[in-house]
């Protein structure tokens, strides 16, 4: 049976701290609706975050939660999953937290294929600290540390996670809300390391630097820049400029880390000491 979303919230913490129109709240709603559809027990869920605007998410949910250090949500989550593989462990990171400060942890969690779901809220900027560009700020866009335009290439998290060894990789947006809930549900159900990158809006730090003054304007930009994976294949490089592809990119079965580790424990316990 469907529950009111408020069942999953720490009501006393509301209204939340995020700015008007911030995509973090939309992402939180999508995560909770996916959990509600799956009928997961609140006590079996561990939600782990690092540092950044989106990492405040763990303060608002009535699960087992940890708000950890910058970029280190995945190592903490790995520890929890290793100690109790029965837990359903969800990691929420921002683009800077995941791909800059925690970049190494991200590729190695994917390489191990440990059964965690990494949700990356990609608003393309360091919002909390004042709008510095991140590794996911597109080339040519503006940040407070790129007032003449960003000259860096941005990471493609989908390709990065796929190459590093994840089991499930998808990209959605806060505008395409029903497909987003489906992608998150599939990621939650996946045994192995699953990644959902979510293109999100930061009207304050990103929007104002990039000629989008409000949340609705940013959502229109997200809507108009998104291309489904089927259409994407037939676009020229010129047509792909300033667009991004959304959908599901990887869904494979392979050995999962905690299961492999349990086999190591079993083998070790069978060995007699001294022989």
């Amino acid at each position: 049976m469907k529950r009111d979303i408020e069942y999953y919230l720490r009501r006393e913490a509301f209204p939340h701290i995020w700015c008007a129109g911030c995509g973090n709240g939309i992402v939180l709603g999508a995560i909770l609706r996916a959990i509600d559809d799956l009928q997961w027990d609140k006590n079996e869920i561990a939600m782990i975050s690092g540092i950044g605007c989106s990492s405040r998410i763990t303060g608002y949910v009535d699960f087992c939660t940890m708000n950890t250090t910058h970029g280190r949500a995945l190592p903490f989550a790995t520890g929890i999953k290793m100690a109790n593989p029965e837990m359903k462990v969800i990691v929420v990171m921002g683009d800077g937290d995941c791909s800059a400060i925690g970049g190494n942890h991200f590729i190695h969690a994917a390489r191990r294929n440990i059964d965690l779901t990494a949700i990356i809220v990609n608003n393309m900027i360091y919002g909390m600290t004042g709008g510095q560009y991140s590794p996911l700020t597109p080339s040519g866009r503006f940040g407070t540390t790129a007032p003449y335009g960003n000259i860096d290439q941005s990471f493609d998290l989908v390709k990065l996670a796929t190459a590093a060894g994840a089991s499930y990789v998808a990209r959605g947006t806060v505008y395409h809300i029903r497909p987003l809930i489906s992608l998150i549900k599939k990621a939650f159900n996946k045994k192995g390391f699953s990644v959902v990158e979510i293109i999100s809006d930061c009207p304050i730090s990103y929007g104002k630097m990039n000629r989008m003054q409000s949340a609705p304007e940013m959502l229109k930009w997200i809507r108009d820049s998104a291309v489904s994976s089927k259409v994407w294949e037939n676009l020229s490089e010129e047509e792909k400029k300033d667009k991004y592809v959304i959908g599901e990119f990887l869904d494979v079965e392979k050995p999962e880390y905690t299961e492999l580790y349990a086999m190591v424990v079993e083998r070790a316990q069978k060995l007699e000491v001294g022989k």
Binding site: I5, P15, G21, N24, I26, P203, A215, P216
Partner: protein, 81 residues
């Protein structure tokens, strides 16, 4: 319209829209993207239904609300979104 704490409840014989005026931050997302233009802004920029009978209970306002401030239900109490 009825009030329940900070919540304003608007209802006809098929749909019930609840807006939490304390949680809403007047971002305008629900107003902009309602497919039926059911909602309008009050003087503070927060939504209220001007055209409740046009609501198809698609629930997009609720799903896209960053603040958990608007909900859409069928009047029989069953959640549609």
């Amino acid at each position: 319209m009825e009030k329940e704490g900070s919540k304003e409840i608007y209802q006809n014989n098929s749909v019930k829209i609840t807006v939490d005026k304390e949680w809403c931050k007047a971002c305008g997302i629900c107003l902009e993207f309602c497919p039926q233009k059911v909602l309008a802004a009050d003087e503070g920029g927060k939504p209220y239904p001007v055209n409740l009978s046009a609501c198809t209970r698609c629930g997009l306002c609720e799903l896209r609300c960053p603040d958990f401030a608007i909900t859409v239900e069928g009047v029989e109490g069953k959640k549609d979104v």
